[in-house]
Symmetry: C2
Subunit: 322 residues, 2 copies
Amino acid sequence: MQTFKELQSLYLGYLNTEIITKSPLGLYEPVNYIMNLGGKRIRPVLALMSYNLFQEDIEKALPLAHAIEMFHNFSLVHDDIMDEAELRRGKPSVHHKYDINTGILSGDVMMIKTYEYLASLKSERTLDIISTFNRVARKVCEGQQMDMDFETRNDVEISEYLTMIEYKTAVLLAGALKMGAILGNASSDQCDLLWEYGINIGLAFQLQDDILDVYGDPETFGKKIGGDIVQNKKTFLMLSLVASMKYDDNQIFSTTATLNAEDKISKVKALYNKYGIKDLAEAKMNTYYQNAQAALKKLNLDSHKNKREIEMLAGKLMNRVS
Amino acid sequence: MQTFKELQSLYLGYLNTEIITKSPLGLYEPVNYIMNLGGKRIRPVLALMSYNLFQEDIEKALPLAHAIEMFHNFSLVHDDIMDEAELRRGKPSVHHKYDINTGILSGDVMMIKTYEYLASLKSERTLDIISTFNRVARKVCEGQQMDMDFETRNDVEISEYLTMIEYKTAVLLAGALKMGAILGNASSDQCDLLWEYGINIGLAFQLQDDILDVYGDPETFGKKIGGDIVQNKKTFLMLSLVASMKYDDNQIFSTTATLNAEDKISKVKALYNKYGIKDLAEAKMNTYYQNAQAALKKLNLDSHKNKREIEMLAGKLMNRVS
């Protein structure tokens, strides 16, 4: 049985063999740069872990794992341009280190390389994997568009927000699990249950992120507490507050727009506390978490030696400290 | 037998059925916009024509034709951002009509939709087509990178320029022909000969474009004569001139940098004439054209009823007036 750490290390070894040394260097150097910036490599490990539920020869799934990590990094490169983010994992983002044109074109070639790795898979179900990936990748783009649209909209519904985070975050986690299962020759039901597990874990994960932004421990959270509030981000908490507030508090809330960061965070947090928004978000998060565990249970892995790892993975995602 | 015009009209009918009406509109409206800006639809018609050399049920190749046109338009959308081009086919480019973020993300989703159309092909060789497409798409990106690199380099070799235009322009024409042939269940040799035909026609086509930029008829060329000279573009003509000039002319040439557009065009053109650069370029172009015809001859289509259309296509590309 391979643990998360073992699979992560196996993937990192493979990643190292896939550094691109061909020309034009101006195109491929930024690809190597972003692919080697670090991160937990959750998505490729999810694919390996899912494959490993059904097959032992994990090496066969490495190109799939790499395709998924390549696509994830493609989306980071293009999103960072769109969000004008100068940093990624504490280092300069690609378009900031090079330039915007490099970010666009190197991102494009990463998408193509994703499909090269997918098409290289030795399986009778390669085309099925590519079709699954197509749906995932399209939804990731749709989620990013929704996220951008939300910035200028004042009528975003909570249900729309949940669809957005499902598309932008959860489907790639779910896709990694499902594609690993397809490659592992799992049954259609098993593939679907792993997808369901991934979607729910992804949604729970994102809601946790929304909660931690306000209530996280500054020591372990990594980002500055209250960042979403300062940026007026329409998170689950913010949309829930707007949907719950009574008239007077609406007035108070509207005055926070002109406050400095510290005061704004503290005023909005007071409103969150008054309306029990944290409990609401935690309840929603727990529902998704339980849905995920229920999907895993239906998989009937009780006798499976790799079951514990995939259960622990959810825990790892949810207590993002380690 | 289907003529170019018939296939073009068949494709335009299909294009019309593939307008995307789903949300988010902010993502898909720009896709519909660029896909319906017009153009000769040469690439999709090439795919249909090639398929039609081997099979009669052309409808089966329409998703392939559309995938290729979708990818071509993806590359136009992203290239226009990189080149800061405000116009495309005389209308606002996507990022100019909307914004850069829209151009990036709508372009991304067009690439994904390309693969959706490819993966939808009902053929035992779909994976072969996807792998062929992957190589083509990667080279298109590499060609664009080389083109951008050339802008700031002063040591570009003619051979590098030819590789750049092969990647940036010729491989997609060749790929359209080859993928049409694969889908049409042609032999490996036939697929390769159509590829060779496409590469050579593409190179001849681009060299003709370089020549017409200087020697074209202002009435029919469509763009302003001398544009490449004004922009210091490293075309086949420019690189051949730099490689041929004697010392004194080098001096004269270097003084053109500060001239106004009209004087610069006329001085550089005088140097082209002095060194027989037009003849050189035409000779090179004709070599590619003959290579293309030789590849077609090897295909042994003499008895084939669709042979004439594919031969005429080369002519159509080369006399770009119609």
